[in-house]
């Protein structure tokens, strides 16, 4: 399985200087990456800047992507996550070092909660949902996240594994339902 063939074709075009290929990758993956970035930083304007910065980094570093080592989305996700964590760390330093007022204004501005998950993830048990949210949508490492949840690291890792296993079952069931509906219609 591995990398998507259509993605590889777009990436090859991008390496050869065809920027339209980047915009097609943007159309395909910007929603997924924006979902990650916005849930991490909880601020729409900032998330939009970070999404743009992520795609500029993808454009400038595309020759470093190696399709034999994984999917394009995984690589792009790592860039988005690192870019967002960098920005959050810089902001945290600013708040701690210079201006305590920034923190107050920010909490007032961010009334809307962007962290809510949807779809199949909502069907998971609450502790499984939280484990996935912490690691994949809030930028925590496994070592940080198990402390947030107050469970041993091994237990936390098994939460993540069980949650992913459960999700896989849900996706497989959805496919079976789709097939049944298709067969009925046909």
């Amino acid at each position: 399985m591995g990398a998507d063939l259509a993605d590889i074709q777009l990436i090859n075009r991008l390496i050869e200087g065809d920027n339209d290929a980047l915009y097609q990758l943007y159309d395909k993956y910007s929603g997924a990456l924006y979902g990650v970035v916005l849930r991490m930083c909880q601020n729409e304007a900032e998330a939009q800047d970070l999404l743009q910065e992520t795609f500029v980094k993808i454009w400038s570093s595309i020759t470093q992507y190696d399709a034999s080592k994984g999917r394009f989305y995984t690589w792009a996700y790592r860039i988005a996550r690192n870019t967002t964590l960098n920005s959050l760390r810089s902001k945290k330093n600013l708040i701690q070092n210079d201006d305590l007022g920034v923190y107050v204004n920010e909490t007032e501005e961010n009334q809307q909660d962007f962290s809510l998950l949807k779809g199949s993830l909502k069907k998971l048990e609450p502790h499984h949902q939280k484990a996935i949210a912490l690691v994949y949508y809030q930028g925590y490492t496994h070592k940080e996240a198990h402390e947030v949840m107050g469970v041993p690291l091994g237990t936390f890792k098994s939460y993540v594994r069980q949650a992913l296993k459960q999700l896989r079952k849900t996706y497989a069931n959805e496919l079976v339902w789709l097939w049944c509906i298709f067969e009925t219609i046909a």
Binding site: M1, G2, G17, N19, Y23, Y26, D27, S30, G31, A32, Y34, G35, V36, R39, A47, Q48, L51, Q52, T54, V56, K57, W59, S60, S61, Q64, D66, K69, G70, R71, Y73, T74, W75, Y77, R78, R81, N82, T83, N86, S87, R89, S90, F114, L117, K118, G119, S120, L121, I132, V135, Y136, Y137, T141, H142, K157, V160, R161, L164, L167, R168, Y171
Partner: protein, 250 residues
């Protein structure tokens, strides 16, 4: 066995997000190459991860794409450098082959004359393209061979003792070009990044891929030293000092 440890300790899940330390990342990458079953499990994990991400997608406003297009179209990409020796050798070989081929064609004389004209025209185009490449290469050679260029060798510290990078710095023309062929390969989640130290502050010069002959980087005024760190893929805003692998005063 590595596979057992990777599965029991959930290292694939951590590798996916780029959380693992470099030594464990390299261990996982090696195991993925060697073990088809483990690779299949990672492929499935990536597929589920992507499916989950698409399900959790939030559509960004259209202005983000417009801004991205403006930003990309107004930026001049760094041109990938080709090997000067390779191009020069190709030029010579191609020219030699072309001459020989033309000699054979001449012996067949008139019956092939029309076709020869056509082929010669094609060849001329290729020669012109090669001459253009040759001009680019010559210009790059001038950049690194100028009288004011200071060549420097950055050796890896105890973290990466086998690492070596050659930097060509021209303070007059404000140019920095590096040869990264001596840098070892990194895990897919990491990249090399160069920094200039200016009054104690590290200024980003750009990221580096290993095995490149000539990479142009940003020239930073008043730099006191050149430094290389290992950073997450895409580069970092601030250097990870604990992953500094080489430094040299200017």
């Amino acid at each position: 066995m590595e596979k057992k440890r990777i599965l029991e300790e959930g290292l694939l899940e951590q590798y996916l997000t780029g959380d693992l330390p470099i030594d464990e990342q390299l261990m996982v990458e090696k195991a993925l190459v060697e073990d088809a079953d483990l690779k299949a499990q990672f492929d499935q994990l990536e597929a589920d991860f992507e499916k989950m991400a698409l399900e959790q997608a939030i559509v960004p406003p259209s202005r983000v794409k417009s801004n991205l297009v403006d930003s990309i179209e107004n930026t001049v990409p760094l041109k990938t450098n080709r090997s000067p020796l390779w191009i020069a050798a190709s030029f010579a070989v191609l020219f030699g082959l072309a001459t020989y081929w033309m000699y054979i064609q001449w012996q067949n004389a008139e019956e092939n004359f029309d076709s020869l004209q056509q082929q010669t025209a094609n060849l001329q185009e290729r020669l012109e393209a090669l001459e253009n490449d040759y001009a680019v290469t010559t210009s790059q050679l001038k950049d690194i061979n100028g009288p004011n260029v200071v060549p420097m060798v950055l050796y890896g510290n105890q973290k990466l003792p086998n690492a070596k990078l050659v930097a060509y710095v021209d303070h007059n023309r404000k140019i920095v070009i590096v040869n990264s062929q001596g840098l070892p390969e990194l895990p897919v989640t990491k990249t090399y990044q160069m920094w200039s130290d200016v009054d104690g502050e590290m200024i980003n010069m750009g990221t580096l891929a290993p095995n490149q002959e000539l990479i142009p980087l940003k020239y930073i005024e008043k730099a006191e030293s050149l430094n290389i760190t290992i950073e997450p893929v895409g580069g970092n805003d601030h250097p990870t000092v604990e992953d500094l692998i080489s430094a040299i005063p200017l």
